[in-house]
């Protein structure tokens, strides 16, 4: 069952909702505003009754897979259980109804929460201070690079290059470019880890920073991280940690101790704030002492008991977002940390690693494992071994959907052909992992016996594989003015 668009369900004469009346004597807009300041054509919003609207969105919801109902082994995304208590906490009127421009004296509780969260995050990653402003991981990467750049400027250095491993997530090079850096790619070695030789050859006085995630996107811990740090620092460059993989080692080790100078964290991965179908998240950035002066303003400071927002930060890179970040997400993450505690977070990472290795073991004879284990919290397999049957990673992904599982991340990282990146997280039971492995085994068997049939999956979902190529062609036609169908939005037939 698919669902029509709200615009298609709309009917011209449906009553608008009951709303308050003005109940004051005052002019209407048309009385006082110049004609040409007024809107000419009413916006084409749908007109529906509340019961129709609620059913519409209820049906849309039922078309989604989600952690609430499905195993979601999406590598690099840490799709773990989102505690319902977090949602209750964020909904408290004492948080949800606060105006950002209230006097500080009236939001001491909120500032205290931000203060404690910053402390906790610093303790987990081993840094001195953190900013909670960035709205997501990529935003945090860029914020960190801005700080590194400002720091180097302050020391009269102009470093123009940022090194990024070939296995890095796309946001890394993009964030570097956005901050005005040249991106220099560092190669991975045969063992899936960064090649020290290549790194050394790319390092230079121009190098501002090396962006690294550890374990890397192959789920492998960079064994030589201390040598890497030494190398990088010896050239006066800084080391940046992409925290997307932090779930691998909370309580086991810390980026700060590894030598990282700046670290972003994805609260919507490691700290269970929900992904929301694509956000909102939160990407706080923690930094070592030398970068603290450059943190975005305001920071939260404790001055004799009172908490205040400190805007007077002469060396700050300024603001990276309005107000104080995604506060509602900070509440959720803090609630989670309180409930888990240091003991819980440590066990969570250990379970995440154990589950990944267990699942990897179950699948090692069915899919190619390009690198030796043990892995950390995720692993990357390859469907390369099935190519001669004409079966690709994408086919495995779609076949899994028909078996009530969401698909792993596929074709990332780019360094592995036909990559299938699996991250089970600590909140999936052994029974679920066993069932998933069983499903993969069946699909691989099917690939051997009847590869063609895999190309027709998924069959059980509201729609089959969608023709993105045809869609792209139609979009191009529109963008080139050869068609009036925008494809990227609904348009009323009569328009």
């Amino acid at each position: 069952m698919t669902e029509p668009l709200s615009f298609e369900l709309s009917r011209p004469a449906v009553d608008p909702p009951r709303l308050p009346e003005a109940d004051v004597v005052g002019p209407a807009p048309a009385d006082v505003l110049p004609r040409d300041a007024l809107r000419a054509k009413a916006p084409g919003l749908p007109r529906l009754s509340e019961p129709e609207i609620m059913r519409h969105y209820s049906r849309l919801a039922s078309l989604n897979y989600s952690i609430s109902e499905n195993f979601y082994p999406l590598g690099s995304c840490t799709m773990k259980y989102n505690p319902v208590a977090n949602e209750a906490a964020a909904a408290l009127p004492g948080f949800a109804d606060l105006h950002p421009y209230q006097d500080e004296s009236t939001i001491q509780g909120a500032l205290e929460l931000m203060w404690r969260l910053e402390q906790a995050l610093c303790a987990v990653v081993g840094v001195d201070r953190a900013t909670l402003q960035p709205a997501a991981g990529a935003h945090g990467e860029w914020t960190a690079l801005r700080m590194i750049r400002a720091y180097q400027h302050s020391r009269g250095e102009t470093r123009t290059e940022v090194l990024v491993p070939d296995s890095a997530h796309g946001t890394n090079p993009a964030s570097a470019a956005l901050s005005g850096f040249q991106v220099v790619e560092v190669k991975s070695g045969g063992d899936g880890r960064i090649s020290l030789a290549d790194l050394e050859s790319k390092l230079s006085p121009r190098t501002s920073a090396l962006m690294l995630t550890n374990p890397n996107t192959l789920g492998l811990f960079e064994r030589e991280i201390l040598d890497i740090a030494e190398l990088v620092h010896s050239t006066g460059a800084m080391l940046y940690y992409d925290g997307a993989n932090l779930n691998a080692f909370m309580g086991i080790c810390r980026p700060g101790d590894m030598g990282f100078d700046a670290v972003h964290m994805n609260l919507h991965k490691t700290f269970t704030t929900p992904h929301g179908g694509g956000g909102p998240g939160a990407g706080p950035v923690g930094v070592k002492a030398e970068l603290v002066p450059f943190l975005p303003a305001p920071t939260v400071e404790r001055k004799n008991g009172e908490l205040t927002l400190d805007y007077k930060r002469p060396q700050s890179i300024g603001r990276v977002r309005s107000f104080y970040g995604n506060f509602g997400m900070l509440v959720r993450a803090y609630t989670y940390i309180l409930a888990m505690g240091g003991d819980g977070l440590s066990q969570a990472s250990q379970d995440a690693v154990l589950s990944a290795n267990y699942l990897r073991k179950l699948l090692e004879n069915d899919l190619e494992m390009p690198h030796d284990g043990p892995c950390m919290h995720e692993f990357v397999a390859s469907a390369h071994n099935l190519n001669h049957d004409g079966v690709r990673a994408l086919d495995i992904a779609k076949a899994l959907l028909d078996r009530d599982f969401y698909a792993p991340t596929v074709y990332f990282p780019l360094v592995v052909p036909e990559a299938i990146m699996v991250e089970p997280t600590e909140t999936e039971s052994k029974a679920t992992l066993d069932a998933f492995a069983q499903a993969v085994k069946e699909i691989v068997a099917q690939a051997r016996t009847d590869p063609q049939s895999l190309h027709d999956e998924p069959k059980k979902l509201p729609v089959g594989r969608l023709d993105e190529v045809a869609a792209a062609r139609r979009i191009n036609a529109y963008l080139q003015g050869q068609s009036e169908d925008p494809v990227l939005r609904w348009k009323a037939p009569e328009d």
């Binding site: 109940d23 606060l98 421009y101 946001t171 179908g277 300024g318 107000f323 505690g341 991340t409």
Partner: protein, 430 residues
């Protein structure tokens, strides 16, 4: 421990299956010197104690009743239909990821497609994206678009644009080496003229004039608009602006100390390839059924990497969903009524406040919608007095604008009933 699923038995069974004796055998790649004993954090709490502690923090904040909140400055108290939270609290929506697997994500994809259409309709522009972080980063992303599109490296910020938006714009521009100029005439060096309608003080600007001036200089016109205001005011598309951006908080999201909310961006057809972030489009399966997919991904970081239009990945989908539910609930007439009620009440309030001894309008010659600046005898004491009575008075804008000493901007929406205004004036008169 909370949220963990493995029993001790499960763990040993799994270790055995992997073929190792203990957990440490799986952590061999981590240098011993880095290994921690434990985290310097207290042990976990029961849910009951956790919630008690969190609730205690919430209690340490003072919540001004919505009807007694006359402060805006970019974040507004408005009526939020219960329908909004009823939809966004559905786990199928809030526990899903970015819809990479289209067939299993039609709910999210279609909701985003509807959001894109709603924003395009509101702004009267061709195409809108799936969402951005907030209004501030939306302004910055728009400036980046203009920079890339025109190849020029200066943007002009015209008039009273939200000061925090300008700060964020500066941070973004610095990285790219873009000059941000306050005011002045656009020239051949100008990539874009950025203005806010209504502006930060609530006053109307000559959007049409600014747009034409920008175009005369070959620059783009970027309009930062209040999404409720366009139910009354000419939308960017009607006066020819190239890019419209804004903050969507008013579309069904609680203030929440400033976030999470949602930034929106829409543009003319010619600029679509420069848009940052996700775009959802319609597609069909082999059986001819319509579905929705992520489209034009070649603009994005995961494909284009350092040459992407933006680095944004996770955006603000769930907030976009809230906005979609809100706009669908309101429909064209509901939205207009919200805007008009706010307009009429704000004008009634402005008149009553102006009648107070020593209170006088600022820029009396300029029009406003539901927020307006007024000069008061002594802003700090006025606000203290109101706060003592549980009223959140106007915003003191002097902290950003030296020339606006003792100027407060007051705002009125459908939640500020006339009795609330009476209470406000009673306190001010007392």
């Amino acid at each position: 421990m909370p949220y963990l699923v493995h029993s001790p038995e499960d763990r040993s069974a799994m270790l055995e299956a992997v073929g190792v004796r203990e957990m440490n055998d799986l952590l061999v790649d981590i240098p011993q010197s880095l290994r921690l004993e434990s985290l310097r954090l207290p042990d976990g709490l029961s849910e009951f104690e956790t919630m008690a502690q969190v609730a205690a923090l919430a209690k340490r904040n003072y919540v001004y009743p919505d009807r007694l909140t006359f402060r805006g400055g970019g974040i507004y108290r408005r009526f939020i239909p219960a329908a909004v939270a009823a939809v966004t609290s559905k786990p199928e929506f809030y526990t899903a990821y970015t819809p990479y697997q289209a067939e299993a994500s039609q709910g999210t994809l279609q909701a985003i497609y509807e959001f894109q259409t709603l924003i395009a309709e509101l702004t009267a522009l061709d195409v809108a994206n799936a969402s951005l972080y907030d209004g501030a980063t939306a302004v910055a992303e728009a400036a980046m678009m203009a920079y890339v599109h025109t190849g020029r490296d200066e943007v002009i910020v015209s008039g009273y644009v939200h000061p925090e938006y300008v700060q964020v714009l500066r941070a973004f521009s610095e990285g790219r080496g873009i000059k941000v100029r306050k005011g002045g005439e656009p020239s051949r060096k100008t990539a874009a003229v950025i203005f806010q309608q209504p502006d930060f003080l609530g006053l109307l600007v000559d959007a049409r004039g600014l747009t034409n001036a920008a175009h005369d200089a070959g620059a783009l016109a970027i309009a930062c608009v209040d999404p409720i205001s366009v139910a009354i005011l000419a939308p960017p598309g009607e006066y020819g602006a190239d890019i419209a951006v804004g903050e969507g908080q008013q579309l069904g999201l609680p203030p929440s100390l400033g976030g999470p909310h949602v930034g929106f961006i829409a543009c003319r057809r010619e600029l679509v390839r420069k848009l940052p972030g996700r775009l959802v489009g319609a597609a069909h399966d082999a059986a001819g059924r319509r579905g929705f997919v992520l489209a034009l991904a070649a603009r994005e970081q995961h494909i284009r990497r350092e040459r992407a239009t933006s680095n944004i990945c996770t955006n603000h989908s769930l907030c976009a969903l809230a906005a979609a539910v809100y706009l669908t609930y309101m429909g064209p007439y509901g939205l207009r009524q919200v805007a008009e009620v706010s307009f009429q009440r704000a004008h009634a309030l402005a008149e009553r406040l102006s009648s107070l001894p020593g209170w006088e309008p600022v820029f009396p010659e300029r029009q406003f919608l539901s927020e307006f600046p007024i000069r008061v005898p002594k802003s700090s004491s006025v606000l203290k007095k109101l706060s003592r009575k549980g009223i959140l008075g106007g915003l003191d804008v002097h902290r950003w604008f030296r020339e606006l000493k003792d100027v407060l901007t007051f705002t009125c929406t459908e939640v500020n009933d006339p009795q609330a205004m009476d209470e406000l004036l009673a306190v001010l008169r007392s």
